[in-house]
């Protein structure tokens, strides 16, 4: 269960404002990536985010580049989950591959405001916000397994070691 305070943003939050292109080949350290999380969207985020805080946004979150650092910087900054109306396919994959919970739940997005508290049970597809409970579509078992192993690299390593 992830319980955290909400940071609220709008539609089409793209990878360039999440992790600017100028850093994509100059920053390789995960902690340093976290320092730039959401830099061109909200300069307060990286400074003030607390462990398990939850990003809430509109449609098409993470659109644009394939850059995995967009998911890495948010995860490393401490965010516990992202709830959005929808996610770009590349960001969605990158987030799961990084072990960052991504929840599609348009109703909850409309309800939540900055500073609210939300509770996410990612594995079981349950979300509590504003005194209401929501069900969201759970990951298919094949993909849930990647998430449960902590991301794609540890998942692949585990499978390779088993052979």
């Amino acid at each position: 269960m992830i319980v955290g305070k909400v940071w609220k943003y709008g539609d089409d939050i793209n990878t360039d404002v999440i992790f600017p292109g100028k850093y994509t080949y100059t920053i390789s350290d995960r902690k340093e990536m976290a320092e730039h999380a959401l830099e061109d969207l909200d300069s307060e985020f990286a400074k003030n985010v607390q462990k398990n805080d939850i990003i809430v946004a509109g449609k098409n979150f993470g659109c644009g580049s394939s850059r995995e650092q967009a998911a890495t910087c948010i995860k490393e900054a401490g965010a516990g989950a992202i709830i959005a109306k929808s996610f770009s396919r590349l960001f969605f994959r990158n987030a799961i591959n990084e072990g960052l919970p991504v929840v599609e739940c348009p109703e909850a997005v409309d309800l939540l405001k900055k500073g609210d508290t939300a509770e996410v049970d990612f594995i079981n597809g349950k979300l509590k916000a504003g005194g209401k409970e929501f069900d969201f579509v759970k990951l298919p078992p094949f993909i849930l397994e990647i998430f449960n192993d902590g991301g794609l690299l540890p998942h692949t390593k585990r499978k390779l070691d088993k052979k």
Binding site: D12, N14, T15, D16, V17, P20, G21, K22, T24, Y25, T26, S28, D40, K59, N60, C63, G64, S65, S66, R67, E68, A71, S86, S88, R89, L90, R93, N94, N97, E98, P140, F142, I143, G151, L152, L153, T156, K157, L160, D161
Partner: protein, 414 residues
């Protein structure tokens, strides 16, 4: 019920007779592209504890995002990649003197009809222009392909775009795709396979087709396929001896949507800051002054694009307050453009000709913007900060519109 292109190609790769939309398949692609991000990918690959990569022939590595290196960090990044390429004996490696990765993959004949390509870059969708299934993936996913060859996909639904009408002289495929994205929005083709069909598509040359496939990702698509025809096969036969087995959608297949556009009714279109779907016609923006004009990138940096710019700028001078940067998408394109006299025309008009590569498209170097500056570009993205400065503005347009605007100093319809 028949099957769509994407169902058929993913079923074949997965060794299945039939797949349903929504089904997850695991496949080994035919082509796996990575670029300057190969350094980071190689570090992720190392965590898998595998010594030798799964298949050297699968991989194409192109240095293009910041070439030549703009700083010690970029230089060190390139060095790691060159060492990885050597240690892993990867033959299809293109160093800094080649061009933009997607152009290289196509131009060198590495991919064609019926093949599956993946790349750790979102504009990998471009290979749909030659009838391939191709899409972007993340760095960890590419690291796993280096290790095991495998990647999973969810079989997407398909949107068919039926494009008809005679092309007006001042209209290009860039205007069409901007018009479509403006119409259906940045998530209008979410998670979908796009098929571009109809007489107005058949009429396009290969360069113009690549623009449509390249920019499909800007409406959220997984891939952007154009059914291969004689033009496709001729274009490929000039580049490779490979034999291809084209895949087409069955006539009775099920599309999630069919969208129709008549190009004779579309006007030159521009995407305003800071989203690609924020589109209006160029003539609505005639009061927007520009500081920089850019012709190039994987979207519009081919000989045909440079020719369009030269046709506008021949014997003329660009506006004194404008900097015009031209990035041929590859060294072959650069050489051809010199041979055809276009480069001289552009230099005489006041352009700066840059080396093939991504240039300032992703904000790394070679023409980044200052606060309050405005650039009109033939690239594919205009997100805030995209060209290195979050207080700058980027407009997207066709090579004709960009060249015409460079002459007048403000956004001008060709």
């Amino acid at each position: 019920m028949g099957q769509t292109f994407v169902q058929k190609i993913l079923a074949a790769k997965a060794g299945l007779d039939h797949v349903e939309v929504g089904q997850i398949v695991e496949i080994v692609p035919d082509v796996a592209l990575s670029h300057d991000n190969t350094a980071a990918i190689s570090k992720k690959f190392e965590t898998l504890g595998i010594e030798k990569i799964y298949d050297q022939n699968l991989h194409i590595i192109v240095l293009d995002h910041c070439v030549p290196a703009a700083s010690e960090k970029y230089a060190s990044n390139h060095k790691v990649i060159r060492e990885f390429v050597k240690n892993q004996e990867i033959e299809k490696f293109y160093d800094i003197n080649n061009g933009v990765c997607h152009q290289i993959v196509l131009e060198k004949g590495h991919i064609g009809p019926g093949m599956v390509g993946v790349g750790s870059d979102s504009h990998t969708t471009m290979y749909g222009a030659v009838g391939a299934f191709s899409t972007g993936i993340g760095r960890s996913e590419m690291a796993v392909i280096f290790g095991t060859g495998k990647i999973w996909f969810k079989v997407p639904p398909t949107i068919k775009f039926e494009i008809t009408g005679e092309w007006p002289d001042n209209l290009t495929s860039k205007d069409l795709i901007l018009h479509i994205i403006g119409d259906i929005g940045s998530d209008g083709a979410f998670y979908s396979s796009c098929e571009f069909t109809g007489p107005a598509i058949s009429a396009l040359n290969m360069s113009d087709r690549m623009v449509l496939s390249n920019m499909s990702v800007e409406m959220g698509a997984k891939n952007g396929y154009i059914p291969p025809d004689e033009k496709t096969l001729l274009w490929l036969s000039e580049r490779t001896d490979k034999k291809f087995k084209a895949v087409y959608s069955d006539e009775d297949c099920k599309y999630s949507k069919v969208l129709k556009y008549d190009v004779s009714k579309i006007k030159p279109t521009v995407a305003r800051p800071h989203t690609v779907d924020n589109c209006v016609t160029a003539d609505e923006l005639s009061d927007v002054k520009i500081n920089q004009a850019l012709i190039g990138t994987c979207t519009n940096g081919r000989v045909e694009d440079i020719e369009m710019a030269a046709s506008v700028l021949k014997g003329k001078k660009i506006h004194p307050d404008v900097r015009l940067l031209v990035f041929p998408a590859s060294m072959d394109i650069y050489k051809e453009s010199i041979k055809l006299g276009y480069i001289e025309i552009l230099i005489d008009a006041g352009a700066v000709i840059m080396n093939p590569g991504c240039g300032p498209c992703l904000g790394a170097h070679e023409g980044t913007l200052a606060p309050e500056e405005v650039c009109i570009s033939t690239a594919n993205r205009n997100f805030k900060g995209r060209m290195g400065c979050k207080e700058a503005s980027v407009y997207l347009a066709s090579p004709l519109t960009v060249a015409t605007s460079a002459l007048t100093g403000k956004i001008t319809s060709p």
